[in-house]
Structures are given as C-alpha cells and as structure tokens.
Symmetry: C2
Subunit: 242 residues, 2 copies
DNA sequence: CGGTTGGTTGATGCAAGTCAACTACGGTGG
DNA sequence: CCACCGTAGTTGACTTGCATCAACCAACCG
C-alpha cells in the first residue's frame, strides 16, 4: 500500500473532450503526495509508542480515538468472530497507515506481530486537518481505494485459489511490497499461524505448502523466518494473478 | 449498499473536545444524501439503456467512460482470470451504482443477470460535477467505504466459513438488502452457478447446501428462483457474523 | 414432441483438515 | 556448560468436506 499510482472514478487519463472544459482533469494519482505526507502537519500532537510482540494496538470492541503510522515493525489487522475464529485482513508494514478506514465502521483489531514503534495521532486532530484541506480528503479516497483493491485481490485468492497457489500469491505480494526480485531474501516477520489465518488455511497446510515450494526449488528456506525467492517465475505461474 | 449510516475516519460522533473547535464535527453519515442523489444534476447528459440477460454492460479489458445506475434488474460484477476462472465480486440490485470504483484501477466486468434497465452517465460529466462539489466527493468516500466493508465481510465468508455457512450468509445478506424478515419470500435472480462463483464453491455443492437447508427446515423452496425464509434464526446461527 | 437449459442428486476421489508425534530453537537456571 | 523447558515449525497417518464426474429431472420452447 505504498505510493503507487492510484486513481478512482474522478481521475481520467483519457482525453474525452465530451463534456468540455479546459480545466485539467482532476487527477487523483498519488504520485507526489500521499496521505502520510500530510501527517507532519500535526506531528506536534502526535506521540510515539512502543508495542511489544503480540500486544494489542487497538481493539475492534473498543473504538480508538487515534490514527496510526507504523515507524518500525509489522502489524496484523484482524477480526475476531464470536466463536473465536479470526481472520487476518492484512499485514501492515513499516510506513503503512491504519485507523483511517478501520474504525468506527470497520471493526478490526490491530496487533503487533513484532515489536513495533508507532506514531500515534489523535483522530480529532486529523479530522480537523482534513476538514480544511481538500487534498487530504482526496488522499483519503486514494487510501480507501488502495485498500479496496487489495481486498478484491485477496477475495480472488480466497475464492478461487488452492493452497499452494495461495501461499505463492502471499509470498509474491510481500516481495512486491518490499520491492524484491529473483534471488532476494524475503523476511517473514509473521508466524505460520498468522499466514494461515490470512490465507484461509490451517497452519499445517501452510507449512506443508511452503515445504512443497522448497522441494520444487521455487524457494529456499535458510530459516523459518526467511525465504529466498529462487524462482519467481514458478511462483508467478502458480499465483496466476490477472 | 443502500443509504445506511456510513462514516469513515472523518466522521466522529464522539465529543472529544481535545483538539478544540466549535465547528460541528464533519459528519460523513449518508443519512440525508447519497451519491445517487447528486446524479439528477446531470440527468440531461444521461441515457437509458436496456441490457438483455447475460449481456455485458462493461468489460474489464475495455475501460468504460461511463458511470451507471441500475433502474431495474440485477447485475453481477465479476473478474475473469487468464485461465478462465472467474469470481463474482458482488451482485448489484435496483438502485445500486457502479463504475465509480470499478474502473480504471479495479478491473471488473459487469454483466446483466436479468434483463436490465440502466441509467448511463458520461463519466466526464460526473467528474466535472465532482470537481466543483465537495459533498459529492464526500459521498464518494462513503460509497468506497461501503464497498470496502462489504468486501471485508465477504473475505470472512471465503476465508473462514464452510459451505453451508456460506450459503446461509449469502441468503441473509440478500434478505437484509431487500429488507425481508422471517417468513418472507426471497427471490434469487441469479443462477446457482453465479452463487457458486460468488461463494467460492461449485454449483453442485451450492445446490446441495440449499437442499440441506430445506431438509433442516430453515427454508422452503417453492421454485428454484425463490426461497422462503422459514427460520432466520437458524440461518443466522449458521452464518455467525460478528 | 424432442431439444435445450438449469437444477438436483448420487458415487467416487482428492485436497485440505485433524490429530498426533517429533524436531529445532532460544531462553533460563542449576 | 549443559539440562530443562516452552514455543514454533515440520512431518506423518488418517479423516472428511468439497470437487468431480455422471446420471437424472423439470421447465420451457420451437
């Protein structure tokens, strides 16, 4: 969820002069600015906070008055069901934002996967900032839009792919986010259970599929927290994203 | 995806006077206005179009210059994968909007499930309208936010639920959208294959689970296109949404 | 009528879940 | 330093839920 180009309905690279107007099209592409770029404006109201591994950052039952930016560490965003089942909506990495979309209508719990350092902004502060600044609200649209895209891609993974394909998709997405390519070493800060809950699998199946990818020489596993992307072509063939 | 209350980060019903300001909080609740309420302003540029059952309204490979409002009929929003697999992101009913989020960065194809009458607005028109009107962009945020909520709930269905639970969730969601309650008759405009592709199941399993719900007396099936919600409690117990 | 389309049901196979044992690693303390 | 423990991951044996393959049924229609 970086700063890649992102445009929704308002944007238009097309030059359909149809409805006239010489004004340049309202381009929502996030190339220069992102939501995060506006946060420094309220940094005086922010605090830094440390969270230990597995500590809860905010809880779905206890709506948070803050928005967050991850400075270091990895966070899982999850939902717990009444019967105890959980699913992990997404993992958030260094630089990612959270709390903008998640509450109050998206009940989600954020937990530290690793020890984390997090910048915490009072929501009221941010809201005030956004009230007076249309650019921020545009960025908010981008942020939402990016989240929706991620969600839709994940729906394909959950709805159509089999276990090995899911694991391959997961590794590729992480690698893309880190900007890695063939031969690079990918670190997996989250445990197998977390991966399983994200992919709609069990921990055993997840582990087996990772092993299978090793046996097929698509990856190497120097240790359980790191993976060398030996053959990304093979992974991509499995994931077969559109 | 109607006009229910919908608020994202900007909104705040809480009265945290922290960051002061006597201005009322920027409330994004969609209670009075929805995105659709603004469309009449450009109705002069709109056309009405009929689509026959199974006809394509817009294609993921062929980005559309229009936004749409469904007047009558049901539409499926789907994604086709290179290998032919498809999944159905969602079904859209009378009154729903589409094309705002779906393109150009959300490749999706819209197809008529039943014969449809659709109001078609040039995108450029809508963009122009949105450029000058902050309220519309606020509504766009609501629209996106609602879609994201739907997507996240569906991710739970796909990631955690088993076949019968999925079918129960599906029926309940349709019933909620139609505002139905116990004993009411729900019509299923989409075929079993469509339901299956939405739920990540096969057509046979879907059919079997619907039969199972009949056998358990949770529903009645007067004909394959209609379902009587005999015991919504039983359905809810199965779906077990948070 | 026969053909076609969409839905249901049955028989069987397989992918993934379950249950359980075992391994590897990282403390922590004797 | 090693013995012990707790946690996390892997692997194996077995079970099961869903997919697959195939037959059958019911509407609908020329």
């Amino acid at each position: 969820m970086g700063a890649q180009k992102m445009a929704i309905s308002l944007s238009t690279a097309r030059n359909s002069a149809a409805f006239s107007s010489n004004r340049p099209p309202l381009d929502l592409s996030c190339a220069p600015a992102t939501l995060a770029d506006f946060l420094p404006e309220i940094r005086d109201y922010a605090t830094r906070q440390c969270f230990n591994r597995n500590e809860t950052i905010f809880n779905q039952d206890d709506p948070s008055d803050y928005v967050y930016r991850i400075l270091t560490g990895t966070v899982r965003l999850c939902r717990y069901m009444p019967d105890g089942r959980r699913y992990i909506v997404d993992f958030l990495l260094e630089g990612d934002l959270m709390g903008f979309v998640e509450s109050p209508d998206m009940p989600a719990t954020a937990e530290a996967v690793t020890d984390c350092l997090i910048q915490v902004y009072p929501r009221e502060c941010f809201d005030q900032l956004a009230r007076g600044n249309a650019a921020i609200r545009t960025q908010l649209l981008c942020h939402l839009s990016a989240n929706l895209l991620t969600a839709q891609q994940h729906m394909f993974v959950l709805g159509c792919q089999r276990a090995k394909e899911r694991v391959a998709s997961f590794l590729l997405r992480l690698a893309d986010r880190e900007g890695l390519s063939c031969g690079d070493r990918l670190s997996l800060p989250m445990g197998r259970q977390d991966i399983a809950d994200h992919l709609g699998l069990t921990i055993e199946t997840t582990s087996r599929m990772i092993s299978a990818l090793r046996n097929e020489e698509a990856i190497l596993i120097p240790n359980s927290q790191q993976i060398v992307l030996r053959d990304m072509g093979a992974l991509r063939a499995l994931a077969a994203e559109a």
